[in-house]
Each structure stands twice: as structure tokens, then as C-alpha cells.
Subunit: 336 residues, 2 copies
């Protein structure tokens, strides 16, 4: 069994080697990090004109992932992708992260190596440098991440800026991650049978370039990532902004179900409304700037799915044209 | 069972009410926090001339505390005190913190209230404002904290600055927390029998004022908090600074054992050398400034216990005057 300092040393080395990759190298040109791993705390000095955007996220065995189903590489990748998605949702640029890791003895060898490989791959893609952390022995794998981004002063996009009349928009396609989850929970072999359909569940892609584009063009009045499901995440925007919303069911870019899966009796609209972990961006745009909104931004399709209302209700307009209340039925770990 | 948003709301309210307490109010005068709890991420803007000091720390049930032994109030207090001690060890001032909490359903009522009461008490004493976090259901209580401090540019005290010839100093008394732990693990009733002896284990006091005094007077060349035990924490300073140390056993301010406890056959020197969780400050001072070092700083006694050597060995000089190797035998969760 490795000692704590040996594990930390191996994490440090693995991430230090990333500093030569193009995206991290580019970020390092404007380095905020005065003291990184190896002291009691890290010391960061934001560049003039910038603010720190900070988020924390837990990724826990048997709650957010299953060691039998999720390979170590995917656990490492997804843990960091989930947390970094919150940085995307602020329109910020990821810079540094802190990893707190509880690990069973049985995971400190090969499992640990693959886990770090997955996390290093994500760090490399997102431009993140490891700045510190904490490792301890624990009966299950528990991961807590703190991700640190940068935004130009006053440019971070909040949940609270939606105005009545704003267009409600979403990136990508919704319900894909939930479909992947259902497939692998139904039969583990589906992971090999339907690699394209489970991909988003294992390797979500935080919409970093899109988020930054929206922030830098000052186009989004409010924004959130769809981690808990459209219905729940939209309720967060409405609550924070003191508004309501009307969503047009037919406009929602819902997951495609191949005909072979129709027997599973899954409803694409339900998956799209309440399925979690798509990590797409849900945002609002003032109607007067709707002409500036391309159909795709940074290669990610963007769809207008409704609008913000003064009336604080959140409703879904079905094919019959009648609005029904849209209740937040997405992921809530404490709801029975 | 409360929903996640209700738990978050109750945490938010509890900590928001602290903003009117003197120490937090004082800190808020120079507020860095542009966006706090309730968005995808917090936004922080350090004041000109200041740097961010950031640390993360996990406090896990059955690893760092036992729910049967440690009352919820003490768990909340100690979790935050431990993490904040790293800010003290940098000579920085605590400002904001993020709480990631995994909680069993059975703990979401009264236990949760008391836990938050303890944490709020600590936040209030240390001047910390809650800036964000994450709550989820989990079979055991898992707590991960990120604490954010401020230091004047370039003034944070690192582990790596110790020079040969520097005096090695420690605050307070060592081994007290370990003694408390042994007492309560031996017999839970000792908690009532020896309240003074178990106090430091349940309610450690990060040496914030001392750490800031040392940083602002530029007196400490290196510093660490004694979380893992003197022998292990000293090895970290020596490793980071590329030096060794000679510790004089007789000079170590070891825990006092009342005569009634002599039957337990505990050795105060061993408790002081290898016992963890005292959260005192271990630091080095250039010999030429030794005259500026008071016997107590901010009411905390400070003791010179040895000196830094060019030779990279770490040794303990016993009563016979002979140096013996001092191995790092403090807390390491992965060592068998």
C-alpha cells in the first residue's frame, strides 16, 4: 500500500507533466499560481481586471457512480467534467483545481492510476492545472473537487438576470445522458452494444467555448448548466430571476431513440425534461438581440425552446397548445 | 426528509445571519464576494495588493470522527477549524468557505441543525463567510471544505523558507489533542470526567492571530500547522526547504499528564512528537531576529525547540545529549 505522500507525489507528477500541453501552456502564460501543490495552502493572484469564479462538487461512489459499471478512467474524467461545467455556466475560463480524494486500499494501485489518467485527460482538455488537494483512506471512493476559473470583471453570467420576454435557449440535445444511464443500468452489456448512446453519460463535455462566447458577446442575460435536468435547472433560473417561463414541448431538442429501443418504452420528451447530467447550457437572451444568436455557436447547436414570462409559473405547452405546469422533477438526492 | 434545496436554504440562512457579528462585519467591509451562494459558482474579486490563499480538507465519518463519540456540534466546529488551520499556517486571514456535505437521511434533522450550529460558531470566531457548496445524500457523513483566505502580496509564509541555523519554534503545547483522543477512545465517560483534557481534541483553535503576527512582522522564514504530529510536520518543512533539523527533547512543550492518569502508561514526549491534531504552528525564525521573538504572541506561548541544520537529517537530542533519528511517525491514513 502506498503512503499518503507517495500518492500525492504521483498525482503531482502526473499533472505537472500536463503543463507542456498546448492548452495548459497557453493558460500558464498568464499564471495566477504563486504557490501550488505541496504547501499548507495554494496562493493565487488573479490578473488585473479578472475575477475568480469558484465552484465545488462532490462525486461519490454508489451515489453518482458505481465502481462495477463506471471504469476508473471514466470516473476520473467525469468527476472533473461535472465540476468544470459550473465554470462553463458562468461563461468563465477554467484555470486551477483542487482534488480531495478518499480511497479504499484496494483502489490505490491500478484503479488509482486509471482514475488519474482519466482526470488528467479532462484537465488537459479543459486547460486546468492541479493546485492542491488532500488524500485519505476511506471504504468507498469519494471525490470532492474545487474548480477555479477566471472571468473578466463583471462579465460572469448569473442565474438571476433573466427578464420577462427573454428567449429561453438550450445547447445540444437533452436526455442523452439519462438514456445512457438507463441503458447501462438495464444491462451492462449495452455499454459495448451502444457506445454512441452511452458516451455522453460517461464522458460529458462541459460547454466551455459556448459559455465563454455568450459571456464575451454579452448575449446571455442568465445561464445555468443542465446537471439536474431541464425542469429542475429551469426552476433555478426562474427562482433566482423572480420570473416564470413557458417552454414549447415541440421545440425541445430531445434525445433520438433508435427504433430498436422502442420496446424499452422510454419517452424522449420525459428524458429531455427530467433527465440529469447532460451538462448542456440553458440560457436566456434578450429578444432584441435574437438576430445575433447563430444556430450553432462554437459548433454546438443552440435551440430556442420558449420564453421567460412575468408570471412566475413555469409551464410546458404541449402539441395541443395548452400550457401545463412543468414541475421540477429532475435529480434531487434528498427527495424520496 | 428535507429536499436538497431546503437543506441548502437552511444552511444559507444560518450563515447569512452571521454577517451581523463583529468579526464577520469587519471582514465584510472589504468584501471580495460579488456572487455568493445560489449560483453555479461564486465570484470573488480580491482587493488590490492581496492574494488568495486556498486550502481544501476532508473530514470523514469513521476516519476523522465517530458519530457515537463526537457530537454533531463538535463535528461542525472541528471540520471548519481543521481546514482554517491551514490558512493560519500561511499567515493569512480567513475570508470565505465552501461546504460540500454528504449526509445520511437520519442526520438531516436534529443532527444537521447541531452540526450547522457548531460550524456557524467556528465561522463566526474565525471571520468566515459561507460562499457556496454542495449537499447530497450519502450513507455516512462526509464533509469536504474549501477555505479561502487573504494575504498581502508575497507575504504568505511557505514551508520552503527554512534556512540552516534558523531557530525551530512551536506554539502552545503538543500532544494534548492525542491525549484527549486516547481518553475518549478508552472510555467514552472520560469526556465528562476530564473536560479540560479532551477540549483541544473536540474544539481545536487554529492559531490565526499568531500566524498573522508572524507574517506581518516577517519573522517566520517557514511555517506549517501541526496537524499530523510534530515528527511528520517537521519532516514536511525539512523536505520542502531542503534542510534538516535538530530537536531538543527537553525543550518540547509536551502535554501535562495529571498523576491520576499515570496508570495509562502514556508518554508525554511520544504524544508530543507523534500525536496529531494539535493545530499549533511550527515555524522557523532567523537567529539574528531571535531577540524579536516574544515568549508569547497574541497570548499564545511560543517555545524554541531546536534548530535547522544544513545536514538533511532530522534528529532528536535526548537527555543524554545524543542525537537519534526522528522518524515521521505521525498520522498517515495510508500507512499500515
Amino acid at each position: 500500500m502506498a503512503s499518503e505522500s507517495r500518492l500525492i507525489e504521483s498525482i503531482r507528477k502526473r499533472f505537472a507533466s500536463l503543463r507542456s500541453t498546448p492548452i495548459v501552456k497557453d493558460a500558464a502564460r498568464n499564471d495566477w499560481l504563486r504557490v501550488g501543490i505541496g504547501d499548507d495552502a495554494a496562493v493565487l493572484r488573479p490578473a488585473p481586471g479578472y475575477e475568480c469564479v469558484v465552484t465545488t462538487d462532490a462525486f461519490l461512489e454508489n451515489v453518482h457512480f458505481l465502481r462495477k459499471v463506471h471504469e476508473a478512467v471514466a470516473v476520473g474524467y467525469k468527476a472533473l467534467a461535472r465540476a468544470t461545467s459550473d465554470i462553463a455556466a458562468m461563461g468563465a475560463r477554467p484555470r486551477y483545481f483542487f482534488l480531495t480524494l478518499g480511497l479504499p486500499e484496494s483502489c490505490s494501485g491500478k484503479w488509482f492510476d486509471q482514475f488519474i489518467t482519466g482526470m488528467a485527460r479532462a484537465a488537459c482538455e479543459f486547460g486546468l492545472v492541479l493546485a492542491g488537494g488532500d488524500t485519505t483512506k476511506y471504504p468507498e471512493v469519494v471525490i470532492a473537487l474545487t474548480v477555479f476559473g477566471e472571468a473578466k470583471r463583471g462579465r460572469a453570467v448569473l442565474r438571476s438576470g433573466a427578464q420577462p420576454g427573454d428567449l429561453l435557449c438550450v445547447s445540444g440535445r437533452l436526455g442523452e445522458s439519462e438514456l445512457g444511464l438507463r441503458l447501462i443500468l438495464g444491462d451492462a452489456r449495452n455499454q459495448r452494444r451502444w457506445p454512441q448512446l452511452v458516451k455522453k453519460h460517461f464522458h460529458p463535455q462541459p460547454r466551455l467555448a459556448l459559455g465563454r462566447w455568450l459571456a464575451s458577446h454579452r448575449l446571455a442575460t442568465s445561464m445555468i448548466d443542465t446537471s439536474d435536468g431541464l425542469s429542475t435547472d429551469l426552476s433555478h433560473i426562474c427562482h433566482a430571476s423572480g420570473v416564470g417561463a413557458r417552454v414549447i414541448a415541440d421545440k425541445i431538442p430531445a434525445v433520438h431513440l433508435p427504433p430498436e429501443l422502442h420496446a424499452l418504452k422510454l419517452h424522449p420528451l420525459n428524458l429531455a425534461l427530467h433527465g440529469g447530467e447532460d451538462y448542456e447550457l440553458l440560457f436566456t437572451v434578450s429578444k432584441k438581440f435574437s438576430g445575433r444568436l447563430p444556430a450553432a455557436i462554437e459548433k454546438i447547436p443552440v435551440t430556442v425552446i420558449g420564453e421567460i414570462t412575468r408570471d412566475k409559473k413555469v409551464t410546458l405547452v404541449g402539441a395541443d397548445g395548452k400550457p401545463q405546469p412543468l414541475r421540477p422533477l429532475g435529480w434531487d438526492p434528498f427527495r424520496k
